[in-house]
Amino acid sequence: MVGEKEFGSRVFRWVNNLLLIIIALTMVLPFVHVIAASFTTSAELADKRFVLFPTVFSLDAYKYIFSTNTIFKALFVSIGVTLIGTLWSMFITLLTAYGLSRKDLIGRRQILFLFVFTMLFSGGMIPTFLIVKETGLLDSYSALIIPVTINVFNMIILRSFIMGLPEGLIESAKIDGCNDFGVLFRIVLPISKPALATVSLFYAVAYWNTYMHAILYINDAAKWPIQVLLRQIVVLASGLSYDSSEFTNIPPPDITIKMAVIVVATVPVLLVYPFLQKYFTKGAMLGSMKE
């Protein structure tokens, strides 16, 4: 009887593990295929179809997409927006989160409500567009940063983290003559690395992935971030030649080239992911759990 039950739970565990492996593979194999396919020739791809490890290695697709500076420019825009945007957002979010975490701040509950309410209701696309236009941001890189300065969810993660720090730490620093800026930058910052890493990752990924704001606020193709260019190349098969003189005599992008562009747009996120991974699950929890 007992043996039968143990056998049953063993079978259960094996089936469960097997299913999980299959699920995890379906999540990552499309990436692996795209990466592998980008490093092979289109002839090889047409022959073998499902390439996980290319037998013919070729950098032709990358040579092609980097043969002009279109991709470089878009990458440069995306990297710049990601770095500056993340720093800017972290700075403002941290100030706000710290301020709203202090019990001395009269009205902090009301102010916090003002922030949270924007998660439930907003002016929507057009009124926001009009304000971005009125504040003179259209067609500038700031249009990708300023209108999304604070993500309320990220702010709440930081705020919950700061509120979880021992109160005595902040009090004693104040008694030692530290003002609030001093407390934030000398006491709170050094011990908040996990939360800071998590929220920075969330911001950086959001900035790297920015697409909607770029198509809403930026008309000038020379200022496109990589995501917009990716869409042009893969789906519309046209973006590589917004300056048509650059690509004379070159046929439209074939499938390995599209894959190479996808890889270029994806790899930066995949590169930072393993380093920050140990932090973010904890961070994501902070924001979602009610204390």
């Binding site: 995890a24 999540m27 209701f121 696309m125 009124p127 567009f129 304000i131």
Partner: protein, 329 residues
């Protein structure tokens, strides 16, 4: 929603404020002034965030008034002509309205009934894994799609599904089937949409459930085992009831997003041949507003959508409370 946690902590100072004697009110105001002044640095710190909030979040909310006007950019909000509910009447009588409403509701239904339960099942499965290394590896892999933009996800789907040498169609041909034009066929739009949603969010969605499950008292399982309860009965009678509050909070939040189906995602999939199933309010706002310049009309559409979303989340929250759950605020 998370304001709630605040309530208790702040309650003390609130009651302090309200129960104060009237004679004391003057000195109380002075006290508040003194405290604000004493903490002026704190107010200085939240000032940039507050300015951002006002300019880019609250002014656009007031900008919603243009849905009752014939807004012309050169006349401004003050100079534009007021037209009452004209744009709303136009929306509700537009032949596309029902199509858009239906499409929006169908996608919403797919979110609630297909995409929402999957992370719960996945979390229950992960919870049964005893080998920590194996568990962590699986988790690391299934979180990855969460960090990919819709452009990347749609692009990957595109190169896999295209008729022109895409992997899936080549496989179909090898297996003796005909090629399917997944990307231009309106029947394939909804399956592709929801598969992409699940693919992107199922893994990440497990985080909260896993945390909730890890909080369940292990003694309950021991007791159930003693009584001879099977694995599935344990999950059904112990794990699921224990994480029910979390499930309900997340469900309410999901309903709050009822009409936030992701402009980017749908817009990227939208094309002339699938418009009859793919056009939703967000994409309609974009085409009528930004591409055709009908600012007032598209704002009215957006306002209608936003209000329905707000009403739904309030309603869902009320229902949750009625059934004895906590709700989100």
């Amino acid at each position: 929603m998370r304001v709630k946690s605040e309530t208790l902590i702040e309650q003390s100072s609130q009651t302090e404020l309200t129960t104060v004697n009237k004679d004391l009110q003057k000195s109380f105001k002075a006290e508040i002034k003194r405290r604000i002044f004493k903490n002026k640095l704190l107010y200085l710190m939240i000032l940039p965030g507050l300015l951002y909030l006002i300019i880019y979040k609250y002014i656009p909310m007031f900008g919603l008034v243009i849905s009752f006007q014939n807004y012309k950019p050169y006349q401004g909000i003050l100079g534009s002509e007021w037209v009452g509910f004209e744009h709303f009447t136009r929306l509700f009588t537009d032949s596309d309205f029902w199509m858009i409403l239906r499409n929006t509701l169908v996608l919403f239904g797919l979110h609630i009934f297909v995409a929402f339960p999957i992370p719960i099942v996945l979390a229950l499965m992960l919870n049964e894994v005893k080998n920590l290394f194996f568990k962590r590896t699986i988790q690391s892999l299934i979180y990855i799609p969460h960090f990919m933009s819709w452009v990347i996800i749609v692009s990957i789907s595109f190169v896999l599904l295209t008729m022109d040498g895409g992997l899936i169609n080549e496989l179909l041909v090898n297996l003796g089937f005909n090629k399917v034009n997944f990307l231009m066929n309106s029947e394939w739009f909804r399956p592709i949409y929801i598969i992409q949603v699940v693919w992107q969010s199922a893994g990440w969605g497990t985080i909260i459930y896993l945390a909730a499950i890890s909080g369940v008292d292990p003694g309950l399982y021991e007791a159930a085992k003693m009584d001879g309860a099977s694995k599935f009965r344990q999950i059904w009678h112990i794990t699921l009831p224990a994480i029910r509050p979390v499930i309900i909070v997340l469900l309410i939040l999901k309903i709050g997003d009822v009409l936030e189906l992701g402009f980017e995602h749908v817009y990227l999939l939208l094309n002339a041949s699938n418009r009859s199933v793919a056009e939703i309010f967000d994409t309609y706002v974009y085409t009528t507003g930004l591409l055709q310049g009908q600012y007032s009309y598209s704002t009215a559409v957006g306002l209608f959508k936003g209000l329905v979303g707000l009403i739904l989340v309030v309603f869902a929250n009320k229902m949750a409370k009625k059934f004895g759950e906590e709700g989100i605020y």
